[in-house]
Subunit: 152 residues, 2 copies
DNA sequence: ACTCATGAAACATATAAAGTTACATGAGGC
DNA sequence: GCCTCATGTAACTTTATATGTTTCATGAGT
């Protein structure tokens, strides 16, 4: 099954924006992500509604971070995307009349719920600021501004 | 994203087979699952290879359980399906050159691994026999043979 | 007025699960 | 031996959805 990579993508965008003041146009960000500007606008729309980013039109417009990175978790970003389903497997029928199916669903649902809860919990433990910190470690001595160099 | 319901489906099939001796034709099972015989054969193929079920051609042929239900877990069944990916979300790129992407992947991968491990672990705790027991509870006073009645 | 940016709708593409058709293979029953 | 019934398998169709693309409207700045 094809995996939804919007969370991965939007995090990438946010981390690219973090060290510089901005604003960044959708086109700039799209180049960095090797995708289309419209895709950027699409995945950023949810974040704008929750106030994590701002967007402005016209000359000098684009996207700007509008939140405290140490207050926003990966789970928040996930929620901003509309909380798409986390699991690739699921029940055949959601409210079956068949008792067999009910028994199967009950067993699977329990496992599914646990796994989803754990995943959400883990995502809730990581803030964007922490991600940025990890990034700086990976950069080592290099200037933070070089992050985007390879996207030129 | 469309969810893979093969595990749910094959468990349904196995539970339907459990209380009766069989063999069951793909067509019978397909009717019970409201699907196509070829779909049944497809999802049963993996289980046959692992020896959980047997299949026989010709008159009086069909599918027969060939394992100790108390020894086979939902995880085993999942593995018999080829261990399809469990998560609906994932990283944009698996082995990125971009340091930003690496940082994002590292954070997400950890959460993904934990959730997958927990889900597999939960599936490993439930045997087919336990599922059958739960089903009998749901059936209450009714005869086990009535399970399939509504599929007629 | 012109340019640059987002906003949004509409359409195209890619991928994978699920459903379907068609036919080959082999196991009884006659 | 031939016929019927069942699985085995390949090929194709359908459906859902993430992703990509085109197009145009809207509004901000020069």
């Amino acid at each position: 099954m094809r995996r939804d990579s919007r969370l991965s993508g939007v995090l990438h965008v946010l981390l690219h924006m973090a060290p510089q003041p901005g604003p960044f146009t959708s086109e700039t960000l799209a180049k960095a992500m090797d995708t289309n500007p419209v895709v950027i606008r699409r995945i950023m729309a949810g974040l704008r509604e929750l106030g994590y980013v701002r967007s402005e039109k016209g000359h000098g417009g684009g996207w700007t971070l509008a939140c405290d990175l140490s207050k926003v978790t990966l789970r928040d970003v996930y929620a901003a995307l509309g909380s798409p389903s986390l699991l690739a497997i699921g029940n055949r029928t959601e409210a079956p009349g068949c008792l067999v199916e009910q028994a199967v669903n009950a067993a699977l649902d329990q496992a599914f719920r646990d796994a989803e809860a754990l995943l959400l919990s883990r995502l809730g433990e990581v803030t964007l600021a922490m991600l940025g910190g990890d990034l700086r470690k990976r950069l080592g001595s290099r200037n933070v501004r070089d992050i985007n160099a390879h996207h030129a």
